[in-house]
Symmetry: C3
């Protein structure tokens, strides 16, 4: 990181209950206790690393109030109620410094079509395109080389990073964050097989992304055949994820990297899908259900269930079968012995 | 959708055999029978939903000629031979309204290198780049922020959506549709391991995409080491698919989302690969073969075969083994009982 | 390819020990022995194709010094020590012709923010964005529509192809080649679940890519929570690969297409991961280890080990279990026979 803090600035941010030691060093980085170098800050977030505090070379260390050790010379201990929370507070400050809220306005190289409406408080960066009838809400930020299609609507306080495509008619509500390369509103994959050819089924619906959703780099979400593909409030989607047409992703769902969801499927609120999981079409994953990484699910999953495997089965059964599967060599031997015994008698 | 139809406009498009009921409502959306609201159109495409027609709140309903029920007040039934086909006809009309054919011409912010040839009937949108010696054919549409490399050739009636990259020397024939973010012609992944390092093998071939191919968002197709990587006529590729160098994808093939195909492999005409399937290098998938989602195929597959699993085996055998696999706990118990019996005698 | 060579130009490049036959044809392509047409060059790289030389229609054929056959009329045999190496030399020459080193300079449509530093020998192509405090080193090439974020640093002789995003603060050392659509430095996927919501954990670290790394089209590498995500010297990454925050990818590693690596994992030097493999978080893959395609690894892998499967186990054990798995129908029958026997006695 290119920002630095004097020790007293850090104390102002994390508000320690007690300060031990002194240092005149400036802090220019954050690292784990064991890997930190002088000039870096570290923290005791997990009790199992308590023994590493004494040996750390970090200049500033965030420790819990019950930590009893003393700092080395030119080292500062800041005792805080929750070192992880204190660190998050510091990182938020760093984030503001690294990515300062840009000034409102439209970069002279952006192409805003006649009939588009961009709020005066919004920022449209270099080489963005905003098509006719599109709307960009208050304080929203199109960073650079973003494409906003005809009649697309972006709410307030959204952030579209470089190279994002928001296709025609699609909708982002408020505080939606799209990482670079995200594509919202490509055509759904729908064809009818007629006379030896796959004839395209027009895809005339859209995609609606509710409040506080974040979507990872190069992920793709397809527009509905008609009606809408929906991603619910607070859901977080990692990189290279595929959401097909007419899916309904619920609220506060987690989709890890490279997950693929087939068409017209519903992922209910609070479900968690592990990386590279594949979900079939026209099914429902229940509220709060968990799907293991690389699983393949082709049937409905009950609320709260935990399934795993390809094809997916209940996690507990899968674990048991996996153990027995690895004992197959033994089982074959046992059956052979029984056969030998039978032959002898 | 941002388009609307008066009931008489819909009748003009779908040409009903009979009309029942009347409405003065304007139709602004399409939805399933059970979810439609007033102001929306619905349809009875699948007989199993016949019972839902009576209760639907849709303003206009497309029903087959043998449907006997009567509409509610302010509701219109249009009796058509095939409601699905009638709906497709309506959606095509919506598509034309949503994505009107753009006017020909080159946007003033597009960069057309000297020596590139763009047909007068083509449209090159904002912030596109067309390099030297590239050709853009009649009525083709580069939507926005598209990159066309040196000496690339685009035929007639193609549509390259925002952010597409067509690298140097690559070829699109006619009516090819590339969804946003597609990359045609990145280098193949080829290295030779020499003296502890992976030395790059130059990739100097290209990619040729035949007529009527469609490729989904953020999919990647690599250029050949030499000669060409080919995608045959009428083939449809979903999002986030990887096609490696020197592959030959046949005609009318379906590659679902996140499929990965290794180098120099042939996928024959009419094959269908399910989502997230992985195909090894230097093999052939036979004509009309089916590969299940998330399967891993590392050997040739016969024409018309259906394989599934990781590693893939015949679908029927896989289903049988899966049933037996789940009976492993029972089998272990039975063997134990036999052993106990043997010990007793 | 759009380049052509006269036979004597090819001889100058490959330096044959002996020349047999003559031709006046110009060579405009390269193809395998069996598929080559007149006007193309072919080569005998693998002894098993020796029988195909006599029948090839190629105009020029590279053969080893011990090849005894004679060319057909208007056909040229060039006898070289190693036809594959000779071909690579020719392809390198083709590569230089296809992708000539561009002239230094900044395209008038590129947006270079005040405070960015671009070397005079660097090339910045059309519609690129280079933000404040960013550095572009000697002879580096930003091809087109590339985004370089605030304070990002690019070393010497790098090549960023169209549509690449290098986010703020991220670092490319020297001779790094990023294929189109690569995203370096999107936010890591980190949230804490607080009061029913996933609250974002700020991601304020960066990504550092060491010398001679190549990364494939549309791959994504996330910035660290704090500190750095690292890709070591000479590592080659294929298309659509996901590398999560805080990973350390070693030197000379191979990551095939669609691999996904979860957060804080270490892939040691010379490891090779097959296509679509998924690696869990906070683990270590040992030096030189091999992971089969589509495997799922959730535990440490020893140096030099070869694991495969989902979940992954040792390759040898996996092969054995797979054989026994397919014999399950037989095993069930054998147990039934034993049971019948036991019932009879």
């Amino acid at each position: 990181m290119q920002v630095s803090f004097r020790p007293e600035e850090i104390a102002t941010i994390v508000q320690p209950k007690e300060v031990r030691g002194t240092t005149t060093e400036v802090v220019r980085g954050i690292a784990s206790l064991s890997s930190a170098a002088p000039g870096e800050l570290s923290f005791l977030g997990n009790p199992k690393y308590r023994g590493e505090v004494a040996g750390t070379r970090a200049t500033v260390v965030l420790v819990p109030p019950d930590y009893e050790g003393q700092p080395q010379p030119n080292q500062l201990f800041l005792l805080v109620d929750n070192p992880s929370v204190a660190l998050a507070r510091l990182c938020s400050r760093i984030e503001q410094l690294l990515w300062p809220k840009p000034a409102p306005g439209i970069h002279p190289t952006a192409c805003i079509a006649p009939g588009a409406r961009v709020a005066a408080s919004a920022t449209v960066g270099p080489l963005c395109v905003v098509e006719a009838e599109a709307v960009v809400g208050e304080r929203s930020h199109l960073q650079a080389q973003v494409y906003v299609g005809r009649a697309a609507r972006i709410g307030d306080d959204c952030w579209l990073m470089p190279g994002v495509t928001l296709a025609a008619e699609c909708v982002l509500k408020n505080r939606v964050r799209l990482q670079p390369g995200v594509i919202v509103g490509a055509d759904g994959f729908g064809y009818e097989f007629i006379a030896g050819k796959h004839e395209k089924v027009p895809q005339v619906g859209n995609v609606v992304i509710e409040d506080d959703v974040e979507i990872g780099a190069n992920s793709t979400l397809d527009r509905a055949r008609f009606s809408r593909t929906v991603v619910g409030e607070g859901t977080k989607i990692d990189n290279l994820v595929q959401v097909a047409h007419n899916c309904t992703i619920g609220r506060h769902v987690i989709l890890c990297a490279q997950v693929g969801i087939s068409g017209s499927t519903t992922i209910s609120d609070y479900a968690v899908l592990g990386g590279q999981a594949g979900i079939g079409g026209h099914i429902t994953i229940g509220r709060g259900a968990k799907v293991g990484g690389q699983s393949a699910v082709t049937f409905n999953v009950d609320p709260g269930a935990y399934v795993n495997g390809s094809p997916a089965i209940s996690y507990m059964l899968g674990q048991r079968l996996e153990v027995l599967h690895r004992r197959l060599p033994e089982l074959f031997k046992r059956v052979e012995q029984l056969e030998n015994l039978a032959a002898d008698t």
